[in-house]
Symmetry: C2
Subunit: 353 residues, 2 copies
Amino acid sequence: MADGLVISVDGMGGDHAPESVLDGIEIAARKAPGARFLIHGPAARLTQMLEQRPAAKAASTVRDAEKFVAMDVKPSQALRQGKGTSMWNALVSVETGEAQACVSAGNTGALMAMAMMRLRKMEGVHRPALVATWPTAQGFAAVLDVGANVEADGSQLVEFAIMGEAFHRAVRGSSRPKVGLLNVGSEDQKGHEEIRSAARLIREAGVDLDFYGFVEGDDISKGTVDVVVTDGFTGNIAMKTAEGTARLVAGFLREALTAGPLARIGALLALPALKKLKDRMDPRTVNGAVFLGLNGIVVKSHGGTDGLGYAAAADVAIRMAKSHYRDEVAANLARLSAATAVTAATAAMPGLS
Amino acid sequence: MADGLVISVDGMGGDHAPESVLDGIEIAARKAPGARFLIHGPAARLTQMLEQRPAAKAASTVRDAEKFVAMDVKPSQALRQGKGTSMWNALVSVETGEAQACVSAGNTGALMAMAMMRLRKMEGVHRPALVATWPTAQGFAAVLDVGANVEADGSQLVEFAIMGEAFHRAVRGSSRPKVGLLNVGSEDQKGHEEIRSAARLIREAGVDLDFYGFVEGDDISKGTVDVVVTDGFTGNIAMKTAEGTARLVAGFLREALTAGPLARIGALLALPALKKLKDRMDPRTVNGAVFLGLNGIVVKSHGGTDGLGYAAAADVAIRMAKSHYRDEVAANLARLSAATAVTAATAAMPGLS
């Protein structure tokens, strides 16, 4: 099933690396027998630590890299000094074809900059985008871009839609995910020109998508669509606002259930149910944002996550690597680029338009 | 205390008008003795309905208006056909000085368009903005713009900051609210040029604000600042995303607490605590968005709210009307406009810049 599947791992990325990384590989290796992990980092230290993690040990190869990228360096600095770090080498393993996907919990800006440099943009993609998974009343939605670009024009938003749709199928196993454009209203004339032109382009370009139209902020959690498309500024703010709100409600709930003796007894009786609720809201289960649009799969884990969270990110990498994600995106991008070429040509010839 | 205070009311605005409106006035009148309400709508019907609402009856004058604005008409249509409607007349009462503030739960677009036409923009304001109140871990934050404009440049964002800060003091009674600009990171170089220029302008223009700097999406619920400033596109999406998330978590909680007999008993014991939690999350308590930046106070209630929610919106109108909101905004706007005039003059003279 996972024959020949190799995931490249930045062993030193993340606030609790390498412990959290190796804990994650231990869980992921048990879940995906057959997958191999190529872990980049200080060989002696990692090899010794793998002794306590038998499944990870059996499924992994350690590749020595003494340097690593600090969590607080700027992307430009990381590009200049990054060569030979565990993050850089993990990306190079994907570039050379030794691995089919790469996972890192390190510095996001550095990872995106290095990934762009080593793996380059896929043909037809103008701006790679970061996609996040979001729990909804219906299951899970893919939301992108959540921070790779602060702006996006109409055709870039369509590229995001194409990549996000293929991502949802690859990782969530959906057959025909519904795609929506995030806006401030559902009527055609609402919002920025960029969004309106993206909607027109999807409808007119013959892109193979189940396009729902515009969705509003509250539609994300409702699960009105499976893929929510927006620029990186709005997407990042929506994602963090939702995280903040969930944390606020959880805090209010905790306060309420510890406010008096009756509430405490009630909470105790309801403990298994509340535990299940907590698991359902656990950000670790949806860990693993993917940097889409490159010649290679790059998964970004939250920097502060633990082994369970890291395993979820590794699982995303494995699902993406096993899927036909790239071919599907390539086919749809070709349709889009043919359509935009026609639009550009007609615009250049006023007599025809 | 509220001597001579008159609030003008659109008796026919809202999904459940006029019942919800009169229920709201009944509650508001009990809470604010001395305040008078000038209710616009079909006089015979409203007068009869006031018979069952003694506090509202004692505090109100009914002004006949047979027409009303439908919930689904477009703003342009409302402008053409709106004259003489209960909404129009409620605004005119503020324009003539007969009332100090106006409340409507009617069609938002129509209300904004009519308010702009009748009350005009305040001197120094380029774009009025809609401000919403948001529950946080620390209390309540004012978030603006939540939908009046899809875009805003740097100096318009500063105008929002000035208006939002004065609003927080007027309605929340804070003495020195902290103001933040919503962005995708806290570093100076993050985000759109509009936001970065707004930050520079606040720091350099001598505007009298406690400016915190950039905040991210999760800072809103944390209560990192009291006033969150953003454009109407981002603000609207953030607000609806938060509402959707809170509803999702509440739904998950409900499911968890009804999943089995033990959970049900636990929930029953914790019922008063859960009730308190529900009240705390009740959107009715923060009802009443204010359309800031006009020569007069216009409060927009949610269209679907009931009497309790409407009373909260009326309370916002009363607090605003009693405050020095306008003078404070005018003083700060004068500082801003002096600073931008200097900037524009230096930019026009390259030798000086």
